[in-house]
Symmetry: C2
Subunit: 196 residues, 2 copies
């Protein structure tokens, strides 16, 4: 129960992603719920033999470390990402240790699996985690892409990880980026860059 | 994908439950996530043979109808509950129909199962759904109990449904109410009632 109560604090961790309805930043708890619903509904796009139960368990716990470490923007630089990784490891040590030993080991292993993308379940879970904010950005008319001047090339580089988890969802994401470019939601070159 | 995007609107449905950290009302999406985490962690308190995957799927989708119907306070009167039930049925018809036919049927059946408490999976899921706001109320120093002048007797009447889903969680909830009474977080008689 200590773990259950501590987990509730994830509702207070705000992400970069901007929701349109309601119009506010998304938090990591509702983001995790949305991924779990996506896993249920999009299960048919996972490679054959994928253990859906493990995918869902992974997306449910994957962001708990943000209770201590906070959320980092996907396009942060390498130094920021290295600091974030260290903070998340320390958070995993603290938070999963609130569980009874057997569960602590099991949930920590799930989190490691997600981070390391070491199984097809983890790769599918990571694909969902990357696709969901893209849907939100399209819906928000550009969202964090527009806000931070992210280019289509930068987004497409991130789509590789979706393709790695699910060929069809990867194709879908690639189409989504192309549509976003055509709709003017995302630029081909960095904002403020020299034309030509 | 239409269903996935529509589901995201559940983040905008506010519940009565008051969170303490952050200090604001809880929404139904993050509530559903919390239930799914509880299902993972408290699985050992489900009756033997419980299909945990179905419990988790049920708690993930159980509140989607609130996108149209909104959330109703647990202690609402019978007329309000009848109106809510009709609104939720109409919402289920609309929202699950956004899915491809086979999935629409499957998810609607899961929602019906939860509502009807017709299986041990549904009874365990409902137990979690009832226990979670109790934890929040204790943490909030009374929460909605204090706000609405709910008595220990009214809460204990609701604990029966937790016991029906899990003997040990029911016992835990009963102890929680007793502790809340001793701590003065919840009254034995209605607030404003005649003493003696």
């Amino acid at each position: 129960m200590r773990f259950v109560i501590e987990a509730g604090r994830l509702k207070g961790v705000l992400r970069q992603t901007r929701l349109t309805e309601p119009d506010r930043q998304e938090n990591s708890a509702e983001h995790s719920w949305h991924l779990a619903v996506m896993a249920l509904v999009l299960a048919g796009h996972a490679p054959p033999g994928t253990d859906l139960g493990r995918v869902i368990a992974m997306v449910l716990v994957h962001d708990l470390v943000e209770i201590d470490a906070g959320d980092l923007f996907l396009y942060a630089d390498e130094a920021q990402q290295a600091r974030q990784e260290a903070a998340e490891l320390a958070a995993a040590d603290r938070i999963f240790a609130l569980l009874p030993t057997e569960q602590a080991t099991r949930f920590r292993a799930l989190w490691d699996e997600f981070e390391e993308r070491s199984t097809q379940e983890a790769r599918f879970a990571r694909a969902l985690d990357r696709l969901q904010p893209m849907l939100a950005n399209v819906r928000a008319g550009g969202g964090t892409w527009a806000e931070h001047g992210i280019t289509a090339g930068q987004v497409l580089a991130k789509v590789a990880l979706i393709e790695d988890g699910s060929a069809t969802l990867g194709g879908y994401a690639r189409d989504l980026v192309e549509q976003a470019v055509r709709a003017g939601l995302i630029g081909l070159a960095p904002a403020g860059g020299e034309p030509g």
